[in-house]
Symmetry: C2
Subunit: 155 residues, 2 copies
């Protein structure tokens, strides 16, 4: 096949931090979506987790969710539309502030979240098993420190 993405099998060079982060990040995302599909949640794309993982179980306004996810409310609005169509969340106008749209999980959505936690948990457990619990904890902590160190960088 002429146009397909090339597999880079057989080409290994010493991978640096950036390459390893990228690869691990992609792999985890793919695994999450796969896991949810396997549990019968169709139509989900990995970007949806940006909303799902930033929405309190009790619900929140669109803007609040966008702020938490670190993206614009416009982008979040589109994710919301899709998740509404998929019946995982639903909206209502806020009583207190009638500009506000309140986002909340549907029953199906709560179910999804349960499974979503379970899937993420399973992945973390598999990794922890493979490398050892201590090493996994170190990984989590090292990732946060890496982010902080790089975000601090001014020049």
């Amino acid at each position: 096949m002429n146009t397909k993405r090339a597999s880079n099998k057989g080409y290994q060079r010493a991978a640096n931090l950036r390459q390893r982060l990228l690869r691990a990040s992609r792999a985890v995302n793919v695994a999450i979506v796969k896991g949810l599909h396997a549990r019968g949640f169709e139509g989900l794309r990995s970007t949806h987790t940006a909303l799902l993982s930033s929405l309190d179980l009790g619900g929140a306004s669109l803007t609040a969710v966008a702020r938490r996810a670190g993206m614009t409310k416009q982008a979040m609005g589109r994710l919301a539309d899709e998740l509404i169509r998929l019946k995982y969340i639903e909206t209502s106008r806020s009583e207190a502030d009638r500009r506000e749209v309140n986002l909340a999980f549907t029953k199906t959505g709560l179910d999804l979240m349960q499974h979503s936690f379970a899937v993420m948990d399973a992945i973390e457990k598999r990794c922890a098993n493979r490398m050892g619990k201590d090493k996994f904890q170190t990984l989590l902590s090292a990732l946060s420190e890496t982010a902080l160190e790089c975000e601090d960088e001014q020049a």
Copy 2:
């Protein structure tokens, strides 16, 4: 500003593996591009490193580079065009196979690569300093194991 991407400052929930990976990965990418800009290499975007880091110092064909980077030659061709315009690489037709385009670094490009290694190195050193050398080594190794574990996953 109304429409800008929300900063998620002040919102901390227990971040899972996925979220930490994403954040660290973004932060490192941004830091690399910033570092190169600071050293006077303008016009570079982080995606360019997909080509740069897959091109041997001795040069290679477009298709070979695409294969190494794990992307299509069409996509790689566009990156090549941009890097040619920026004078970091140049092309020549291969003598042996006149279909082939040989990509090679220009003098400026080789210079860029030197700095690029230096920038990545500096970032890694900063992280290693912050968390300790051992922990940093553990991070690198744990990232690869995470990727492998997740890529293996079948269901």
